[in-house]
Amino acid sequence: MDYFIQQLINGLTLGGVYALIALGYTMVYGIIQLINFAHGEFFAAGGYMGVIFISWLAAQGVHPYVCLGIGLVLAMLYCAMLAMAVERLAYRPLRQASRLAVLLSALGMSIFLQNGLMLTQGQYDKAYPTEITAGGFQLGGLYISYMQCLIVALTIFLLVVLNLLVFKTRIGKAMRATAQDKVMSALVGINANHIIALTFAIGAGLAAAAGIMVGLYYGTVSYSMGFVPGIKAFAAAVLGGIGNITGAMIGGLIIGMVEIFAAGYISSQYKDVFAFIILIGVLYFKPTGIMGENVDDTRV
Amino acid sequence: MANLILDDICVRFGGLQALTDVSFSLAEGEVVGLIGPNGAGKTTVFNVITGVYKASSGAATYDGKRITGLRPYQVLAMGIARTFQNIRLFPRMTALENCMVAQHSRSSVGVVGAVLRSPSQRREEARIQEKSQRALDFMGLGDMADEISSNLPYGHQRRLEIARALASEPQTLLLDEPAAGLNPSESRELMEAIGHITDLGINVLMVEHDMKVVMGICNRIVVLDHGVMIAEGRPEQIQRDPKVIEAYLGQ
């Protein structure tokens, strides 16, 4: 039983990580229908920025928790800026082009950023000053680390904040309108470019937060670390119904859980196979994903 | 032949009853108008006939064969072709190619034939091209065969829709608001074209809000309101029917 619950906690944590990345994916997708391959790189850049800022602050003798807080904010800001630059340079000029052209531009950006990180940060991984967040507590036969709590809490917190942002604020409404019809939203006075840039910034900020969490939780960051979680998060976003924030969260949790339980009970080498089979199975019966709005584009 | 019969068709979308017990028929050589207020369910009738939506009850038959439950391409293969209220051409294909696609169900060469370019494939290809060109000519688009369809002006796109439907060699043609977005003189040309179509022995079911057009060419009119048939009859009768005037025509 303990084993089961421990795996459940593992699944929640991993799912939380995927969800954090998937939230950004889904927001960007929601607004310009772009599978932003570079999103995984924002995640990696966030992880590195975390190391850089936190190590520097720690070296100045700042209290660990303050380090963490400031580092988190700075890294999120940094990635937001990075994302805005990427959007401006690589995506905005292609607004009118076919979607595959943008997809490819995103792929090129992803390769570029990944190698940029490698060149500036070195090929070796970087270690987080993990002492900051090491530790946890024993609950019966279970061991729960503080990082696990933090990841799950942060995910839930951001989910709530984002939902409020998108559904309750003016900006959110503008985001949804821009997503649905860019020309019309210009005709009611929305600057689509600003809204899209903002969405990228928010998405990348979320990815950066995820990068730091991952760095702290697993101890190291590497320049290529964005790729695999990027794909999983993409899968999570689609599973939940791409474009839907709550869906991304649910999708992330499902993928995380399936992976952990497949690894814990069946076979860890085939865990991804199970994750993808669940994904395909769900989509087979619900082609728009779990929370996907059934917008019927077949109306004739 | 080409007898289309709808029998107690009902369609439901979630809680919304879009069509309730709709029954009417379309006989050989007829032009029938289907009118009614916005959201009455006219397009839904088309969608049920062509297999886009499933009827929740009731059946449609064509020449005695049941067509409800068939996939759209099977319905077309039986001889029922349609146009769309919101233009649905293949935007990046030329006018001619748009029509050639419609010949798909009237041709049969497979992968092997296509790769080997067998003599029968070449013959068939030539036939497809000729038939399609004839459909374009018929709608007066003959010299626009090589234009990309999305570059055509709106009115020509409407006509291309009809040409494409004709290219599938149908016996029955369903037209969904063919005159929308046309000015009165263009509508008149359209009416003439539809007249020629019936001369080919094709019967027509038409949804249209332009009363001049409807009254001008329909033999019979069916009126829907909130998914229910409220009247059916000859144009003169319909024009005078108080229920129709109240729900639809006004004044």
Binding site: F53, N115 | Y73, N151
Partner: protein, 396 residues
């Protein structure tokens, strides 16, 4: 260019450079030991100078100062274009084919090796072009079929001693069958849902190849796969292998061309343009989408079987997502739906990394940047299919 526009250009360059500096400095300058500026400055100044130069050249060109260089060039390229249009297609094709036939005589081992890669990718690219370019189905797991073809030949030849030429159609068929298997559940999905499912399938295939020890020997791969032979003649040398793949590639080009210009190709394009309308115009979309996957997979299967025989080794590393993405990049970069475009895309994307080998560590960085830039400069591809240009609202 008005003064105002020119001012805006320089201002945005300034903002851009400042922004870049803000992004660069934390990466290079913040060290636990302290803050540094020299390294950042060194990198930044180089890039800034380059950017200023580029903008200046652009500026001059807009202003017409550089017309004396540009105009003759444009004229020359137009003349070439005209000549190209005048020459009959068959002549051009004959020249290309002749060049392809005598190529190994002039190329060294490395040249042959690269040419073989190019030809393999041409088969892959054209196959994917059927799925993505013609039928409009975004497939991110395409390389799985290549893997199926490769392993099919490897296993059949090693376990059953079948010859390359027997295996080639079998491999193609097995790939086609797996194409149908993958295609089936995705038929109800659209757009990007399809993308992730195909990506998932690709990963599943790779993981099975990597983990099913008894069948595939897992990560160790399969060694000692025989080279093709033909009535006793063994295609052992690279140049003779080149002719084998050239034959397969020519077949692929021909087949894809003819399919494209048949009722089947038209039906695929109709599905790409508007699936619902296509079905309503009599196209059995279900069957044709499945057929698109199967045909695409067939060409990948052929290429895969050849790949196995040429490497004499297959392992799961050759069939990763990145490989799928690469093939997709070739198709899109070259020009979706256009056969010469895809071939050009393959040439460019195979050649680029080779050209950039000397950049060593910077190679992939440059590669990614160039890929991005090319998309920006030619969003419809290097050699777009004839039919492009969508009725679009014009907006900044």
């Amino acid at each position: 260019m008005t003064i105002q526009e020119s001012k805006r250009l320089w201002v945005s360059l300034g903002v851009g450079l400042f922004w870049f500096l803000m992004l660069l400095w934390p990466l290079l300058g913040i060290k636990p030991g302290g803050l540094e500026f020299s390294e950042t400055w060194a990198v930044f100044s180089k890039i800034a100078v380059a950017a200023v130069l580029i903008v200046a050249v652009y500026h001059l060109r807009q202003a017409g100062v550089l017309d004396f260089i540009g105009t003759p060039l444009v004229k020359a390229s137009e003349a070439v274009g005209r000549g190209y249009q005048k020459a009959p297609t068959w002549l051009l094709l004959a020249v290309v084919l002749a060049a392809a036939l005598i190529y190994p005589q002039f190329a060294g081992r490395y040249g042959n090796d690269v040419a073989i890669s190019v030809l393999i990718y041409i088969c892959l690219g054209l196959g994917l072009n059927v799925v993505v370019g013609l039928a409009g189905l975004l497939d991110l797991g395409y390389i799985a079929f290549y893997g199926v073809g490769a392993y099919a030949y490897a296993l059949l030849s090693l376990h059953f001693g079948l010859s390359f030429w027997t295996c080639l159609p079998i491999a193609a068929m097995l790939a086609a069958i797996s194409g149908c298997i993958i295609g089936f559940p995705t038929l109800r999905m659209r757009g990007d849902y399809l993308a992730i499912v195909t990506l998932g399938f690709g990963e599943i295939v790779r993981l099975i190849l990597n983990n099913w020890m008894t069948l595939t020997n897992g990560p160790n791969g399969i060694l000692g796969i025989p080279r093709p032979d033909f009535f006793g003649y063994n295609f052992a040398s690279l140049s003779s292998l080149y002719y084998v793949i050239l034959g397969i590639a020519v077949f692929t080009v021909l087949a894809v061309y003819r399919l494209n210009h048949s009722r089947i190709g038209r039906a695929w394009e109709a599905i790409r343009e508007d699936e619902t309308a296509a079905e309503l115009m009599g196209v059995n979309t279900f069957l044709l989408k499945l057929l698109a996957y199967a045909m695409g997979a067939t060409f990948a299967g052929l290429a895969g079987a050849f790949f196995a025989s040429r490497m004499r080794f297959v392992g799961p590393e050759s069939f990763t997502f990145l490989e799928s993405a690469m093939v997709l990049a070739m198709v899109v970069l070259g020009g979706m739906g256009s056969i010469p475009g895809v071939i050009l895309g393959v040439l460019v994307l195979v050649a680029l990394p080779e050209l950039f080998r000397d950049f060593e560590l910077y190679r992939m960085l440059v590669f990614g940047g160039v890929m991005c830039t090319m998309m920006l400069v030619r969003p419809a591809g290097l050699w777009p299919a004839k039919r492009v240009g969508r009725r679009s609202e014009e907006m900044e």
